[in-house]
Amino acid sequence: MSTSTSLSETGPLTSFVMTDTDRKLILATQAGLPLVANPWAELGKQLQMDADDVLARFQAMQQAGVIRRVAAVPDHYRLGYRYNGMTVWDVHDDHIAELGAAVGELPFVSHCYRRPRHLPYWSFNLFAMVHGTTREEVESKATQIRAVLGDACLQHTILYSSAILKKTGLRLRK
């Protein structure tokens, strides 16, 4: 998802230390980058900073991975990708590392994660996001994932999204 999505998860703390200035820059841009010729100068005006310093902090944050990229987040429905299938798989724990990597390498898989089961209710531990313009397209991609997983997969299902209820990305509390 997305970002979305765009949003991706990571583990524990890394070496990057967010400064107060970084936090202000995030707050000023989390809803969007100014749409003017020099957005850094515009942000500098708002925060009483030099445009060069603003740009330098964005470069540093992107370098550190705090910003993945400064980019457009589309509504995939509006682009014709109407079928957003979260395929979920119950994969034998002994094989999930190598099989997860193999599924992640399939060109049509946009996100692929291992997540915890919630037994007995939820037994799926591998999530692979697949998009398509038809349900058949998503199902044919799921069949290809099934082939990669082979006997190590006991069961699977596809959860189609029927509505985007919210899609804002990260928002710090002010």
Partner: protein
């Protein structure tokens, strides 16, 4: 969408160069004017083709928390609970899905401990349990929708 808009959607999903005049840089790459790029982005945002244009922050790298969570909400309560859940700024994305677990959202928080706090708060406000499914291993992330 016209050809200019399609070109913008395709190019802008990949990220802006971090230079003083980034829209001019994109314009020269695509053979457009800076004005066409700026007006094009504004139009795509206004029409809802783009939900956002800006930095994509990585909550985990900020030292914060990020997780995927799911809930099972009876139809009669779905709209009310959607409002309650979306009201949390920590809810970055929320999707309805065709399954018994019918609400799936991503939580992005400034600190890792805020994940548990937010999940408790959502359970308290809505009265329904939240299934927390944090990433245990990431195999691949690359989202791009060519048009």
């Amino acid at each position: 969408m016209n050809q200019v808009e399609k070109a913008l959607v395709n190019r802008l999903q990949h990220g802006l160069p971090l230079v003083h005049y980034p829209y001019a840089a994109i314009a020269s790459e695509l053979g457009l004017s800076e004005q066409q790029v700026l007006e094009g982005i504004k139009k795509l945002l206004a029409e809802g083709v783009l939900t956002r244009f800006g930095p994509m922050f990585h909550a985990g790298e900020l030292g914060g928390g990020l997780t995927l969570a799911a809930m099972r909400i009876p139809e009669a309560d779905f709209e009310k609970v959607t409002g309650q859940v979306n009201n949390f700024p920590e809810v970055a994305h929320n999707y309805r899905r065709e399954h018994d677990l019918n609400m799936w959202f991503v939580l992005a928080t400034e600190t890792q401990s805020a994940i548990t706090d937010t999940i408790c708060a959502i359970e308290n406000v809505t009265g329904y349990p939240v299934y927390n499914m944090p990433k245990e291993q990431e195999f691949h992330v690359h989202l791009h929708f060519p048009v």
